[in-house]
Each structure stands twice: as structure tokens, then as C-alpha cells.
Amino acid sequence: MQYPSPRKGANWGRLSLIGAGLLFGGTFAHAQLANQELPGAVGNVAGHVASQREQAQEAPRNPWLEPGRSEVIPSLALYDNPHGQIGILNEDGAVQTKGHPFFTPLGTNGRACVTCHQPNDAMSISVETVQRRWKETGGKDPLFAPIDGSNCPSLPQGDPKSHSLLLEKGLFRIFLPWPPKTATGAPLKPEFTLEVVSDPTGCNFDPVYGLKGKNPMISVFRRPRVVGNLKYVMQPYAQFFNIKLGTPLEKDPETGVRVGMNLLADSRQPTLKAQAVEAGITHLQMTGMMTPEQLAVLEKFERQIFVAQIRSKRGGDLTDTPAVDGLGPAALRDGKPGLGNIESNPVFRFYDAWRADKGAKLDDQAAFRASVARGSDVFFKRPFFIRNVTYINSIGLGNPVKRQCATCHNASHTGMDVAPGWIDLGTANLPTANVSPDLPVFKLTCRPDVRPHPYLGRVIYTHDPGRAIISGKCTDIGAITMQQMRGLSARAPYFANGSAASLDDLVSYYDRRFNMGLTSTERQDLINFLSVL
């Protein structure tokens, strides 16, 4: 795959930095370096470098960022993906990975945070990358560590069947105590009983790792989430109360400041530090604790990184003229967290510059851009009946409510929900979940004296109880905290349980779930739109 030079006439400055990248970037040579802050950037490079670059861009490469290596990630790094390129913008300048806690194996299994949060994959990891790593390392990469990189640690490791959920859907095992524990570690009495109906992974039945072990744990399987654009994710959008729950927003245990409650698929951690401590203990299998210094460096790093698609195969440079103002990582760096509205601040900003008159003769790029502009309209304005969704229909909007995608995905720039927290869209619970015979199925039976799940009642079958694993509440069964909608092209599959293999699958889910009756044009416009975010 090959792109024309992004900005004609501006090649020199850019190429000089690419030269610098080759010198200083180590295995990052594939990243196009496009900023001056790279240490040791050299001046202009000789004329042959442009041709070298072209071939270098064409040759197959390994964009894997190995934990523990010494690399420099430039302040703006670009990586190829099936729809174009992702841009990773480091606001604080180039990042030296050596000794950096995000890139260093801090635990006992050789993994670092970067193992599952790869810049190449929009700071998540795509199933394509997972599969490639398997082939390259014969399944030996720490990515496949038994703890959560296999269906269950007790399975024979190294056999692809034992890693099928990671290899086929990019899913990691998330293991949480059952019955749940409160924030202080006290046992919490759940409102329902939980049985395992079936579990192809075997892990929920496992004598050591399962629900009946000495240390009883439930295993669910989830996708990593984007580590970037976090000022939007972490922002508390209300002063005191969580609009959805009607109870106060949780607080940062260290500072007492209210938090956004949008972190992780079940909002189980209030802050990035708390999340990092958990990640260290679970994913990295650290025996000790992270130091306060490591936590501070991690949080600072995570908060300065911005992630978005920056080039589109068909749409070209997404930050080029005529300008639309919501695309590319710089738009995220410069944007402010807030609620989107129709007049001055649509969720993913304006696409008017890309609109085309009906019947106008357009080249492929202009046609694609016009489709993106229409796709933003579908996302933002096309109404349909949203039905039977806990924490949308159940909080005063009525069931059904005739609205659009942006009703739930309403936060500026990320498309999260400013009314924070979890929503039962139907992706985890049966019968609305995509057919997933590879995932465990749990049967949850609510006590007669508690408020039932608003649309499924008192007996619920689910692949992932979601927030209910933390809260023990029937109302929360299958409710998943949505993740940001950025960098989608670099990190298929989608939804927390990886049940939508492609953007096309994702749109099909909504079309079916809400009877949207999308036309083929609307569908393609929506997919094109999502692909440039």
C-alpha cells in the first residue's frame, strides 16, 4: 500500500525527519516521523531518500513494539492499518521507551503495558496483530501468557486451541472475584445467583481458576481498550451525581475528586493509577506493587497521548484541506471534553467542507469524503427506535425512545456517554448478543425481592454480566461501559466481547438490534465515517 505525499510541496521538512527516524528510531523506521521534537533531527536529506522511502514503505515489516527495547516514539508517529493510517501524537514530545514503565516488563511474565496497547493498533491490539505474533513466535510471545492470554491457565499452553479466544477475537480473560467485593474488599451479597450453563473455555468450571476454586473467580473475555485521548475518558461531566444511577459519582480515593466512571468495560476502577495497579498485578503478573514514581510516569504518559486515524486509503490525508476539524489526533489534543450538540459542537465536529452536490462528478477521494460527511449525518441525525436498553430507556427517556446513534454516543470527540457508566446495549446478554458459541454462557437468577433487570426480568442468560460482576445488582446485568470510538480502523474486532469482526458487522448489529432499516448507502456511509475516526 502506498500513499501520495500528504502535502504536496511540503516534502522536504517531512522527509528530513523521516531520515532522522531511520537514524534514531530503531525498529520504528516504519513510522513516518513528522515533528521537529525528535531528538537529534538532522537537516535535509539527499534526493534518493524519497525513493528509498517509497520502497521501505512497500516492504513487509513488523510493527511490533517489543517490551523492554530502546526505541524512540516520535511526537507524531504514523502506522498503517487496513483503512489507512493511525496517528499517535505525544503531546509532551518524543518518548524514549527505555526504562519507561509503559514499555518495560515490570512483572514476571515478560509483558509490558505496550504488549496489549500497541501504538500500531491505536493503543489497543487488533486480532490481526495477535495472529501475526502467534505465527512469528510460535505462540511463545508473552502476549499469550497463560494467565489471561489463554482461554484458561490450566490448558496446555502453546496449543492454538488453548488460545482460541485471543487468536480469533483478540479477547483476554478478565478474572474477578465471585461473589463480588466492595471497594474496601468486604464481601458483597449479590442480588442474583450465578450458574455456568456452558463454557467452551472450561475456565469457569476449573477447580483452581473457576467459580468453585479456593479463590472463586468468574472469567469473562474482553478486548483491550484504547490508551489515549484519556482526558475525555476520565472527565467527570457532572458536579455530584451520576445521572444514570442517581447516586453520587465515585471519587478518586487519593484526592477525593469526583471521577468520570467511564474506565474499563465495567467502570471497576476509578482512576488511571488504580487501573494501572490492577493491570500490573493481573496482566503483568507483578509480585510487588508499582512504585508511586512508576504510577505517576504512567499516568502522565497516558494522558498526553492522542490517537486517531490520520490518513484514509480512499479519503487521503484527513487533516488536509478542505479542512474538517474533527479528524486526526491533533483535533483530540486541542479539543475540549463536553456534550455534543447540533449547532456549535457536533460530537465528531463538522464535515461540511466535504459535502458534495447531488449528482456532481467526483473523483474517488471526493466521493469518499462526501460519503463520510453523509455518514456523520446518519450517526448524528438519523432517528430509529432505541429499545430495551438499560440506563438509556430506563432513566426517564422512555422505552422506546426515537433518537439516533449520537444519543448514546454524545461526548465530544470520543463518542462516549457524558452521563457516565454502563449501558445494556444487548451485546452481552442473550438473545440480543451476536451468536458466540465460543464464549461462556451464565444463567443469572434474581431474588424475588429485588428490582429485576428492566427488560429481561429475573432469569437472564449472558456471556458477560458486565457491571453486575462488580455491583451484584440485577439491573446491571449485561451492562457494559462503552469505549471511545477512536482509532477503530486499527483495532478490529469491536465491542467489549469482540463479537463484531468488522465495522460492517458492527453496523449490522445495530441494524438488526434496532430494526433500523438502513439503506445500503446509509450503511456504507456510516462505515466510511467510522473508518476515519
Binding site: 455530584f240 450538540n341 447540533i342
Partner: protein
């Protein structure tokens, strides 16, 4: 499924808070019932009806979380407590006004009807199904930022939080009063903040009496106690009084029985 009567032409949508006070109490025809809600897919925004004894009653339009009317939910029966008017039908239904609508907690799969517009037209919706226009969100933001100033002399003051039947959820309009109670308690350095939860009910027009569960009352009182302390009232100032004995409810404004009072004594 019953069919709604057709109405030709446009029907004006009248504000929900029009005065029924003009009518003397005893002339007022109240209708309280539990029935299936029905949504009609009208242009602009859907309108909400409920069915009772083969008749359709108009409840309101799909609005926003900032508005007083929260539509009911399909898959649940609705508790409707309203006053029957002789206004022209809206959306095919007899207009109840004022009306209180609450969602009954248990699932009822038989309530699952979406009617087509069938020529019914509603007017007066402030916004369509699209995103909030700037004007509205700006206004809401302004309203959210508006802070009542509490100045001395301070005296005993009660803040009331209303709940839907058997429900513990506090939407913004409800928890706003918790915030105000906290602010008043803080401004007046209140020594006592009593949280009194009443056990309410609903008397239906057919004489049926529904009483709220006492577990719900316990949860409401604890939620509000927790919230008050969490947002800044010293824990030692707060006391709770869940009232187990049901309030008297008569079929007139029964929603007032389903409440928690926060009594702040400086």
C-alpha cells in the same frame, strides 16, 4: 390490540401544566389506573398513550431528561394518575392533564405496542428526534450552574424528593433537591439533617390500593443519607427515619406520598 380512533387534521398540543386549578376539586374527574403504555410513531417526536378499559389516554410527548414528563416504558405497565379533560384528543387519546406517570417495576411482555402515526400530528414539541440544539443545552447548562444563595437568618427548612412508585432511582430533578439540602445545611452549619422516608401508595379509580414495599423505603433513605454525606454533610449531623407505616393515600395527588423529606435544622 385495540385500535385508536382516527382524528382528522392537526391537533394542537397543549402545554402539560395548563391550569386545572380553575375547576373546583369536586368537579375534577380523576382517573387512576395501571395499564399498558403505547407509543405512537408521530412525525417530529413520538407521543405516548396508555390503554385503559378499551380507551386510549394521551400522556405526553417524548421529551428530554430536563422536562417534567418522563414517558413510560414498553414491557412494563404504567401507573397513570391524572385528570380527565374535555380537550380535543391528542395522538388519538383523551387528554389527561395534569398527569403523573410511573413505570411499574415488574416485566410485562404484553405491553409492547408501537402504533403508526395513522394521520395523527402533534405540534408543540420543542425539538425533534435529533440532537439537542445549542439553545437548549446552553439553557440547561446555565440552569445547572445557577446556584441559589442561602443567607441568614437560617431557619428549619424541608427539601422534598419524590419517587416513582416502588422505585429508588433519583433522576436529576430529584437529586437536585439533595444537593440543595446539602448546600443549605452547609450554609447554615446545620446541626441536624433528618432524612424521613415515607411509605407511599396509589389508590386506583377501581378502588385497588397499591402500597410501596418497605425494602424500597429503606433503600431510599439509605441512598439519600449516603448522598448527603458523600457530597458534604457531616455524617454525625444526619439521621434517618424510614417510616414503615404506610401514608394515607386517597386517589388524589398520591404521588406526594411517595417521598423522602430532608429536614435541615440549623
Amino acid at each position: 390490540m385495540m385500535h385508536a380512533r382516527r382524528i382528522a387534521g392537526a391537533v394542537a398540543m397543549i402545554g402539560m401544566v395548563a391550569s386545572s386549578a380553575a375547576l373546583a376539586q369536586d368537579q375534577v374527574k380523576r382517573l387512576n389506573f395501571v395499564g399498558c403504555p403505547i407509543v405512537r410513531d408521530t412525525e417530529m417526536v413520538p407521543c405516548w398513550l396508555a390503554e385503559h378499559k378499551g380507551e386510549l389516554y394521551y400522556l405526553g410527548l417524548q421529551l428530554d431528561l430536563q422536562d417534567p414528563f418522563f414517558p413510560p416504558q414498553l414491557l412494563h405497565k404504567a401507573l397513570v394518575e391524572g385528570v380527565v379533560t374535555d380537550k380535543p384528543r391528542i395522538c388519538g387519546g383523551i387528554v389527561l392533564e395534569p398527569v403523573k406517570v410511573a413505570t411499574m417495576p415488574e416485566l410485562d411482555p404484553s405491553c409492547n405496542t408501537i402504533l403508526p402515526a395513522e394521520g395523527h400530528v402533534i405540534t408543540g414539541a420543542r425539538r425533534g428526534t435529533g440532537p439537542d440544539p445549542d439553545v437548549l443545552s446552553a439553557r440547561n447548562q446555565l440552569r445547572a450552574r445557577q446556584v441559589t444563595k442561602y443567607d441568614p437568618p437560617f431557619e428549619k427548612k424541608t427539601f422534598t424528593v419524590y419517587f416513582d412508585f416502588d422505585d429508588t432511582y433519583m433522576p436529576t430533578r430529584a437529586n437536585r433537591n439533595v444537593t440543595e439540602a446539602m448546600r443549605y445545611a452547609t450554609a447554615s452549619k446545620a446541626g441536624s439533617v433528618r432524612v424521613i422516608a415515607y411509605r407511599g401508595g396509589a389508590k386506583l379509580s377501581d378502588g385497588t390500593k397499591l402500597t410501596e414495599q418497605d425494602a424500597v423505603i429503606a433503600e431510599r433513605v439509605e441512598n439519600i443519607r449516603f448522598a448527603l454525606v458523600d457530597i458534604g454533610v457531616p455524617a454525625e449531623a444526619v439521621s434517618v427515619e424510614p417510616k414503615v407505616r404506610p401514608e394515607r393515600y386517597t386517589g388524589v395527588d398520591d404521588y406526594k406520598t411517595r417521598r423522602v423529606e430532608i429536614v435541615v435544622t440549623p
